[in-house]
Amino acid sequence: MPGLEDLYREIILDHYRSPRNKGELESPPAHRAEGFNPLCGDEIVVYLQVEQGDDGTEMVSDVAIGGQGCSISQASASMMSSAVKGKTLAEIDDITRAFKAMMSIHEHELDGSETESDPAPEVKLGDLEALRGVVKFPVRIKCATLAWNTLAQAVDSDPNAG
């Protein structure tokens, strides 16, 4: 088994100790979604302020993260929040796919399905690269992807529903 330093890179611990964009946004108008990892009890709430530019493209002007969880899920959420803030939904989609591609190597092996996903888009992942070590700890992959699945839900959600 790889060592702890593969999992807990310094930058991950930094995001864990000082999470970025922690808090809430008023919803509506913000999109809001809750994510839940039943295995470990981790919870994430993602708030997205989505604004429409003059050219019709939608972008995330603000983001906030609530919830609680282990260092990996918290750090992943914090990094995700930094990575998506100020990006268009199309860009966010690319980042999400690139991140999941980095993680999913192992998810595929685990569920035994044979389908090939689309090739990952060429996106710089920056800080998020630090989470690459998680794939060597298969049980922790769900911790790392929780924030991202919740992000996708938040994007799809209707802020005025409910």
Partner: protein, 414 residues
């Protein structure tokens, strides 16, 4: 069709430690694999190694051994999925035996879908495991149980199938009879059932160990089998179902692993396959079953089948030559339409006595009703002696059986 190769029985026998045992001063001639097969060293070693190296509870642990245990279990699930041609590993549900798998469907699917006016169609050649669960549920729910009869030569009588299917919600039948050896026309029945709007469940307990199995090719909806008859350990069985069928079924056993959330006022079920796997699974047994599948894969199921067809042909021929009319062999007479299990009736003897005499010669056969009493009544017998063949048997075993039957005949002769 794959080219088949003869099994090297001598080298196979060397893989089964128990076969070197002696019984009553004779070599062990094991002819009861239809009740439970023997296990190769590789299966025993896989389980032993699991316990001595990676034993831990699965799924929730983050530590090394728990991860190893989970990986071993899930890789066995993939092997089993591949072995029966399941499109997804998530469709493989582990149970304790095929009996539990059939009951699971009767309680879960049956509890949800059956009521007065509905009907389930089974056959006269079912094992009790595919009858009693329906009796229990019919009592609770008030649906009808219908029966496909058998013909004189031990096949299903499908002449009236369309009428029998009318209004039926589920057809549940055995792929291979554990008394007659008959291999049923699964695809034919399934097509007719689907045309009539019924789901199809097949009891593969006597089929999976002996033939190449492809659930997609068979076209069926639900399939069940049991580990201990296919070189695997006791305590492990399997239910396969099409995802959409399993998804629509309510959970059966409730507890750990099958939930996403539990509150005081209710619970949310987990995804497949966990939804149907409550509690600590038979982990070592799943690992053992995976090793059994590896062993069979390695022999090649086409070769296993070819071996059994030719050995069954030899047995039918030998017994006919040596006993003629004094020995009745139930079931189809053509080796190609049957499995390698022979239900015998030796004139003037009772199966219980025959098996006792055979035991004196080191030969293991089963005597009794074989958990198929409705079939025994249809055959007009109380019991039979059943000799069943598997990968470690060869012509010398058949010869030993014939010699011992001769001795039994002499012993009880009037």
């Amino acid at each position: 069709m794959a080219v088949t190769h003869d099994l090297d029985v001598a080298s196979i026998r060397a893989d089964f430690p128990i076969l070197s045992r002696r019984i009553n001063n004779s070599r062990l001639v094991f002819l009861d694999s239809a009740a439970s097969s023997q296990k190769p060293k590789s299966v025993l070693e896989a389980m032993d190694h699991f316990y001595k190296f990676s034993n831990a509870n699965v799924h929730r642990g983050a530590y090394t051994m728990a991860t190893e245990a989970t990986d071993l279990m899930e890789s066995a699930r993939s092997k089993v999925a591949r072995f029966i041609g399941a499109p997804s590993t998530d469709e493989i549900i582990f149970t304790k035996n095929v009996t539990e798998a059939l009951n699971l469907v009767a309680r879960s699917w049956g509890g949800d879908n059956l009521g007065p006016g509905d009907a389930v169609l089974v056959t006269e050649m079912e094992h009790h495991a595919n009858i009693v669960p329906w009796h229990i549920m019919a009592d609770q729910k008030g649906f009808d149980l219908r029966w496909i009869p058998i013909t004189e030569n031990g096949h299903l009588d499908l002449s009236d199938l369309d009428r029998l299917l009318d209004g039926v919600s589920l057809v549940s039948f055995t792929a291979t009879s554990n008394v007659l050896g008959t291999i049923n026309p699964i695809r034919h029945i399934t097509d007719a059932a689907h045309a009539a709007g019924a789901l199809v469940m097949v009891d593969g307990a006597q089929y999976v160990p002996h033939l190449p199995t492809d659930v997609v090719e068979l076209g069926i909806d639900l399939f069940a089998f049991t580990g201990h008859k296919m070189l695997g350990p006791t305590g492990i069985g399997c239910l396969w179902g099409k995802s959409e069928v399993l998804e629509a079924m309510p959970p059966f056993l409730g507890g750990g692993e099958m939930i996403l959330d539990v509150r005081k006022d209710g619970f949310t079920t987990n995804t497949l396959p966990h939804k149907f796997e409550a509690g600590t699974p038979p982990i070592a047994e799943i690992v053992g079953l995976g090793a059994a599948v590896d062993y069979l894969d390695n022999l090649g199921m086409d070769n296993v089948r070819a071996h059994e067809v030719s050995l069954t042909a030899y047995a039918l021929r030998t017994l006919e030559e040596r006993f003629g009319d004094s020995l009745t062999i139930h079931g189809p007479s053509e080796p190609a339409s049957r499995g390698g299990l022979l239900s015998l009736d030796l004139a003037g003897t009772h199966p219980h006595d025959v098996s006792q005499v055979l035991d004196q010669h080191g030969i293991c056969v089963r005597a009794g009703h074989h958990c198929a009493k409705p079939l025994m009544r249809a055959l007009g017998v109380n019991a039979t002696s059943r000799a069943s063949l598997y990968v470690y048997n060869d012509e010398s075993d058949v010869d030993a059986l014939a010699d011992a039957l001769e001795a039994a005949k002499d012993f009880f002769a009037f």
